[in-house]
Amino acid sequence: ELKVEQNPLFLSMQEGKNYTIYCNYSTTSDRLYWYRQDPGKSLESLFVLLSNGAVKQEGRLMASLDTKARLSTLHITAAVHDLSATYFCAVEVHSGYALNFGKGTSLLVTP
């Protein structure tokens, strides 16, 4: 059974600080996804990581994938309040199969 573990599950950070969210998964996978969810809203796709060593950046967020370590990171640079949300990683074991989600990291950025 594929397990996807995120940590931390809760994160409160000050504006301007840097932090990293970790996503570990238990079986081989070539594809990993990061999603953002605002309160009461659905999931919005942030990054699609399709190969070992993949790195993608959008604004203050950068995601990377190490398939050998079965680890993905979501790095936040100089956090701002607008980044407050819940972030999920999701792993796809086989192409086209359902995604397995972590439990999410609830991020709160404070002044």
């Binding site: 659905s42 699609v48 192409s95 995604l99 439990k103």
Partner: protein, 115 residues
């Protein structure tokens, strides 16, 4: 603009009622999924479908069934609603297998309360 549309944002149903949650996608995607989301548990897969009239159980299918009569539509059915099925339900779709990416697109969610 890709779109996955769920028929209701909010639903309140009584225990024992039969409940239908509808999902429609306009991207000609092969695969469709139903998840439920509960605090502290993340998203859990209920059922999914790779093709019309095909369905597969996910991690928590008990108390649910699905129907996919047309490619664009995937329905989740609660045969006899119970209070422990109070949750946020999310529908998603992805393209067929073998493509460069099978990024999932999600509907806006249906918050179901069973009283």
């Amino acid at each position: 603009d890709v779109k996955v549309t769920q028929s209701s944002r909010y639903l309140v149903k009584r225990t024992g009622e039969k409940v239908f949650l509808e999902c429609v996608q306009d991207m000609d995607h092969e695969n469709m999924f139903w998840y439920r989301q509960d605090p502290g548990l993340g998203l859990r897969l209920i059922y999914f479908s790779y093709d019309v009239k095909m369905k597969e159980k996910g991690d928590i299918p008990e108390g649910y069934s699905v129907s996919r009569e047309k490619k664009e539509r995937f329905s989740l059915i609660l045969e006899s609603a119970s209070t422990n099925q109070t949750s946020m339900y999310l529908c998603a779709s992805t393209p067929g297998t073998g493509g460069p990416s099978t990024e999932a697109f999600f509907g806006q969610g249906t918050r179901l309360t069973v009283v």
